[in-house]
């Protein structure tokens, strides 16, 4: 065994650092085609969200009556595809309130990304606290927390979110809270499982024996184990959160008009699907691409972080 000791600062130590788990993971991610596609799509969305005022040709809430010669629910007019040059160009057409759909879709990227990231962050924070306490303390505390989460899980998440929004009142903020609440159990379970798997390990016991407080041991020794599965679950969860938020808005419970939220845009124009299909098609496509990008990235991350879970 003595021959394996390595002096600090030697090249082997540097090699070891260069091959740390995170670097390896990052390298593996870049070898996954789906993950690369996911990241590219996501990069495009983030670009749209950040530079929305530059990309969008119109104000997303501006009504174009009197400004341009356009009609309500006019189909897309693209000059490159043969639309007369004297007509104003509207890549995705005009909506029921005579606004430019393309500009609304571009600004909608901001809202959707915001929805996904805030809800999942909230759910991860609360889920981690609950899961960590549940797993670490054990006993009746574990029993009570897990049974309450079981009850939450027994409801279809969308129905529960609908009920919570009805309690709290309509609106984007409450819809976000509702979606965050219904996704807590998933993260709590992931963290609890990680805590349970290492709680009795020698290094955890050693840390305790060295005088580490419960808080220190939990935060510095145990919880880091839960980070990889949480990242994977969180990335996949963002997609679900965006889908659920759009569904709530579609039902009229989430973001309210004139907010350029994709679900709301779809919901308000859904009865026009036969007369103006572009008003339904484009917001739905935007939701799909966004969710797809997070799903692809999440799958890639999972395969890179834990190849045993590879889903193919």
């Amino acid at each position: 065994m003595a021959s394996t000791s390595v002096p600090l600062g030697s090249s082997s130590v540097r090699d070891y650092r260069a091959n740390s788990l995170w670097r390896l993971t990052l390298r593996r991610i870049f070898r996954q085609r789906p993950a690369i596609i996911g990241m590219t799509l996501l990069g495009l969305l983030v670009f749209c969200a950040v530079f929305a005022p530059v990309i969008a040709p119109y104000d997303p809430e501006a009504v174009l009556i009197g400004i341009e010669d356009v009609r309500k629910r006019e189909p897309p007019c693209i000059h490159l595809l043969g639309c007369p040059k004297d007509r104003p160009q509207h890549l995705m057409g005009i909506d029921g309130n005579v606004r430019d759909v393309f500009s609304r879709i571009i600004f909608g990227a901001r809202i959707s990304l915001f929805i996904g990231i805030t809800t999942v962050s909230f759910a991860i924070i609360v889920g981690t606290i609950l899961g960590a306490i549940s797993g670490y303390v054990g006993g009746w505390v574990d029993l009570v927390i897990m049974r309450i989460l079981d009850v939450l899980l027994a409801f279809p998440s969308l129905l529960l979110a609908i009920a919570i929004v009805t309690v709290l009142g309509r609106g984007l903020q409450n819809a976000l809270l509702a979606i965050a609440i219904v996704s807590i159990p998933v993260y709590a379970r992931v963290v609890r499982a990680s805590v349970l798997s290492v709680k009795e390990s020698a290094y955890v016991l050693a840390s305790r024996a060295l005088g580490g407080s419960h808080f220190h041991v939990l935060l510095r020794r145990i919880l880091p184990n839960a980070i990889p599965p949480l990242i994977v679950q969180g990335t996949l969860g963002i997609g679900t959160a965006i889908l659920d938020a759009a569904a709530l808005s579609f039902l009229g419970l989430g973001a309210q008009p004139p907010t350029p939220e994709w679900g709301t845009m779809l919901g308000t124009e859904r009865n026009q699907v036969f007369t103006a299909p572009h008003l339904v098609f484009f917001p739905g496509l935007a939701i799909m691409v966004t969710v797809l990008s997070f799903n692809l990235l999440g799958d890639g991350l999972r395969d890179a972080i834990d190849p045993r879970l590879k889903q193919g």
Binding site: L266, V291, N295
Partner: protein, 359 residues
């Protein structure tokens, strides 16, 4: 196994009790007075007092909970505040729509998802595999209601005047009526009660009812109305099942006994279907169980889009109208459905893998 089933059923009682209490509390947390929600903002205080008296809303909350629990145990879910009709009757009217839709969607998901996953696994990295997996990824990312609307647009408008035209809403065409099978068979049935409820429930499964009575016109009409909503609702479970089948099959196909089976000279078909698939089924069944549960959530959206009067749409309406008895009854039914499906999934493990002993 019977012992295990009984124990599992008993163990699910605390969760069901929790659900009963949670729905009760949640329903009452919904802000706004049910009286004003039902009778309108102009309802006077006197009218509302009478209203509260009639539905027991003026009693202390724990008394209401006690009465409610007692009634539920007797199978009485009370009277809908909005429709002034027994909730059980509404349940019998609405549940078959959702059950039929859910079964059809799940059938499509299984019939397409499992073979797609198997083929994908066998022809790994082929064009077919890539197409299937890209399709599955898109499938799980699609909003159900968007797909529903697009399908309705395509099949009802674009394909109008072609043989592929499909109706965009409802369960039956106007003018088509369903005669319950017990009337066709000339059975004498009780006016009301439990058995009448069961018979009515079965009769409202239009496909089944028209199939056993041999009424092909109704059968065809109901089927054409069911295709689009079932297709929309099936995409997510179908995609997830296909992905799970693929990964589970890939896992199994690497194993030694598969090589042995091939070395013995068994046909590829036998190796795949009997040796590999059977052993790959366990995770697939688990995923199917979870997806059956999620169908209820999808049903809210699908039923809204396709104008179907099912459980999902009434639950959404009831929540917004603060119709407590309906919210409670339907949530409890969905929760019981969850528990039963999970139990069935666990029990099916024994049949799929005889090494598993349930204790």
């Amino acid at each position: 196994m019977i012992q295990y089933s009984i124990r599992r059923i008993l163990a699910s009682f605390p969760v069901l009790l929790g659900i009963l209490i949670a729905t009760f509390v949640l329903a009452r947390l919904i802000p706004g007075d049910p009286c004003k929600a039902i009778l309108g903002e102009k309802a006077t205080q006197e009218v509302c007092a009478q209203f509260a008296e009639r539905y027991g809303l003026n009693k202390p909350i724990y008394v209401q909970l006690g009465i409610y629990m007692g009634n539920v145990l007797r199978g009485d879910f009370g009277t809908s505040i909005r429709f002034s009709r027994p909730v059980t009757v509404i349940l019998i009217e609405r549940l078959p729509t959702t059950v039929e839709l859910g079964l059809a969607a799940m059938t499509v998901a299984l019939v397409v998802g499992i073979p797609a996953g198997i083929i994908s696994a066998i022809k790994r990295n082929s064009v077919l595999d890539v197409i299937t997996m890209v399709g599955a990824n898109i499938g799980v990312s699609m909003p159900v209601y968007w797909l529903g609307l697009m399908l309705a647009y395509f099949f009802a408008l674009v394909l109008k005047d072609t043989p592929f035209w499909l109706p965009p809403s409802g369960r039956l065409s106007p003018g088509v009526t369903v005669v319950p099978f017990y009337q066709v068979f000339g059975w004498s049935v009780p006016e009301a009660g439990f058995w009448r409820g069961v018979l009515d429930f079965i009769a409202r499964l239009y496909l089944f009812n028209s199939l056993i009575t041999g009424n092909w016109k109704v059968f065809k009409d109901a089927l054409t109305h069911l295709i689009l909503p079932a297709l929309a609702l099936s995409t997510i479970p179908m995609s997830i099942i296909a992905r799970m089948t693929r990964s589970s099959m890939l896992e199994v196909l690497r194993l030694d006994y598969i090589r042995t089976a091939r070395a013995k000279g068994l046909t590829e078909r036998l190796v795949i279907l009997k040796h590999a698939l059977r052993n790959a089924l366990l995770p697939i069944v688990t995923v199917v169980g979870i997806q059956v549960g999620n169908l209820f959530a999808g049903a809210v959206l699908t039923e809204t889009i396709f104008g179907l009067a099912g459980v999902g749409s009434i639950l959404f309406e009831a929540i917004t109208a603060r119709d407590f008895p309906i919210i409670q009854a339907f949530t409890v039914v969905i929760a019981i459905g969850y528990v039963v499906i999970n139990l069935l999934v666990d029990l099916s493990y024994v049949f799929i893998d005889p090494r598993i002993r349930l204790e």
